[in-house]
């Protein structure tokens, strides 16, 4: 199976998943209490005839499955509906806040992977030493810390006692430092453990011994032969982690009052602004599917065996 064929196949699998989730999402919104027309017209004086006309105009008098297709065709054209609270298009609301969330996620995932991979490599290379024990213990402690508590403690130390960094709202890139740390440190613990375990496993493989036997320099053995193979699961984890970070972002953005998508989701749930909730969950679903597909494709590039095995199994 060529790489291109594999990529194509993976992309094809993603489509029905998104489709399936849109059905569930639509149905959930459908069964939720509240008449969308009445919510939209809240406070306005309108005749029952006008409501009936609107209902027909919006297709709300049609059966569920027809309504679903109306909704889907609007979504495909980039129309996620109108926020009940802000009275603005959901797409606009989300696009205003997305940059903050993306910046936060990118910063924190880079931090997490740099810290995690470096400490993991050091621990693996010094296996059994005091340094290894210290780093491994640190990793477990890190991923046992709840991000929101870490955020509060970071606020207290760097924002209040030392007065080095802003703690609330967005005043520039420096506002991202503490939230990014609060998100990054717990996941760096997982990455450290994974890197360490993979590296130790790879270092025990025959081909490493062969490479050493052939007289290659130690740095070449470690960097070219060992790291390349040890890093594959870490890369997969990167793509699986990305959507999970959105979950953390909801809590952290709320804590630090960052005007991102996560905080918008939180506020929308509180205010029962369902179109916004629906839109954000849809975007997260697409992100999940895209990340999974990318993860599989990157693995296929790094490890040609995958293509053969999965191609045959599927």
């Amino acid at each position: 199976m060529s790489l291109l064929a594999y990529v194509f196949k993976r992309l094809l699998i993603g489509i029905p998943i998104v489709f399936f989730v849109t059905i569930i999402l639509f149905y959930i919104m459908y069964i939720l209490p509240g008449d969308p027309i009445k919510i939209l017209l809240a406070g306005e004086r309108v005749t029952p005839e006008r409501i009936e006309a609107l209902r027909r105009e919006w297709g709300l008098d049609q059966p569920v499955h027809v309504q679903y297709f109306y909704w889907l065709s609007r979504v495909v054209r980039g129309d996620l509906g109108i926020s009940i609270v802000a009275r603005q298009p959901v797409t606009l609301l989300i696009s205003q806040r997305l940059p903050y969330t993306l910046a936060l996620m990118l910063t924190s995932i880079l931090l997490a992977y740099i810290i995690g991979i470096l400490t993991g490599l050091v621990a693996a290379l010094m296996r059994g030493s005091l340094v290894d024990t210290a780093l491994s213990t640190m990793a477990i402690v890190f991923y046992s810390i709840p991000g929101f508590w870490l955020g509060l403690i970071l606020m207290l130390i760097f924002g209040y006692y030392l007065r080095l960094l802003p703690i609330s709202g967005y005043e520039g890139p420096q506002s991202l430092v503490l939230p990014a740390l609060a998100l990054a440190l717990p996941s760096s613990g997982y990455i450290m453990r994974l890197t360490r375990a993979e590296m130790i496993e790879v270092l025990n493989e025959d081909y490493i011994r062969t490479a050493r036997g052939r007289g290659l320099s130690e740095s070449r053995v470690l960097l070219v032969h060992a790291l390349r193979n040890a890093i594959i699961p870490v890369v997969v984890m990167f793509f699986l982690d990305l959507p999970w970070l959105v979950g953390g972002a909801v809590v952290i953005e709320t804590l630090f009052a960052l005007p991102g998508m996560g905080r918008l989701l939180y506020i929308s749930i509180l205010k029962q602004d369902y179109p916004v909730v629906q839109g954000i969950v849809l975007i997260i679903t697409v992100l999940v599917v895209v990340c999974n597909t990318l993860g599989d494709i990157v693995v296929a590039i790094l490890d040609p065996r995958v293509r053969v095995e999965r191609g045959e199994a599927a």
Partner: protein, 292 residues
């Protein structure tokens, strides 16, 4: 026959002792067990060691720093933080256990079915599991809470509903490898029903992995439920839930840091102890187990 059973019993006992010995040699596992014992003791004896009731308000004694009278200080309503932390341990342990039990009740049977029947059943269950796995649990749990409403019980249900995937994956893989073993072939030959094979023959052999998995998923169960309580969707006042305490304390974090430091510290210690114990159990019971 009788002799065979006796020998088997002896072998099993020996192995169990071996397991215990291995665990006792595991330093981090012992440390985890020590922390966990202390927290469990606090939870069990909360009524005896709490200095005051967890909801006892004293407005004349608000936001007081730690002192002999109140070792962890008092919160914005003058409630004793130490007493609330101690009662909170009950909630945290109870919630962790409950979530994990519900997760296992959903995930384990699905994994058994997928591994036992294979084919289409496996494909459908695996597709569901993979999809759930990829989704950020907090977002899904939030979506469920939006529908069923806030509250500690609802949050427990929501978290359990979105995080059973690891159980299905592990049990499915284990079941598949067990299915080719001789005792399963023999059970089939004597006409045991599918149900009986899954639950009486396969399940006991998968149990060690499930125990390890349960220990390792308790921390995330506790962290997710407290995160939801922190956002205000979980426990409601005056419940001494650690997440809710952090949520209430965050408004006073600069004048009364003790309101957030202590609940968070105990939350971290609880998660840490389960992670340490789970890791040690994995190394002792099932070194090859991997998930996530």
């Amino acid at each position: 026959m009788n002799l065979a059973r006796l020998t088997l019993e002896k072998v099993r006992r020996l192995r169990d002792n071996e397991t215990l010995k291995l665990y006792l040699r595991h330093k981090r596992g012992l440390a985890g067990l020590a922390i966990l014992s202390i927290i469990t003791c606090l939870a069990l004896t909360a009524d005896l060691i709490a200095l005051r009731g967890y909801a006892e308000v004293d407005l004349s004694y608000r936001l007081m720093p730690p002192s002999p009278k109140s070792p962890f200080g008092t919160d914005h309503l003058g409630r004793d933080v130490f007493s609330r932390v101690v009662y909170g341990a009950r909630i945290a342990l109870w919630v962790g256990l409950l979530v994990v039990i519900v997760e296992a009740c959903i995930g384990v049977p699905l994994g058994l079915l997928a591994g036992y029947y294979g084919g289409l059943v496996d494909k459908v269950i695996s597709a569901m599991t993979d999809m759930l796995w990829a989704f950020p649990p907090i977002i899904l749990a939030l979506a469920i809470v939006t529908i069923i409403g806030p509250g500690l019980t609802n949050v427990v249900v929501a978290v359990a509903l979105v995080s059973w995937a690891p159980y299905t994956r592990v049990v499915r893989a284990k079941t598949m490898s067990i299915m080719s073993r001789e005792f399963i072939v023999a059970a089939r030959a004597i006409g045991e029903s599918s149900f009986s094979i899954m639950f009486r023959y396969v399940l006991p052999n998968v149990l060690p992995s499930i125990i390890v998995l349960a220990t390792l998923t308790i921390p995330s169960a506790i962290l997710y439920t407290t995160a939801l309580s922190f956002l205000g969707f979980g426990a409601q006042p005056p419940t001494p839930d650690w997440g809710l305490m952090l949520s209430e304390g965050k408004d006073y974090v600069f004048n009364a840091p003790w309101c957030v430091v202590f609940p968070g510290l105990f939350l971290t210690l609880t998660a840490l102890s389960f992670n340490l114990v789970g890791d040690a159990l994995r190394e002792v019971l099932d070194p090859k187990l991997r998930f996530g």
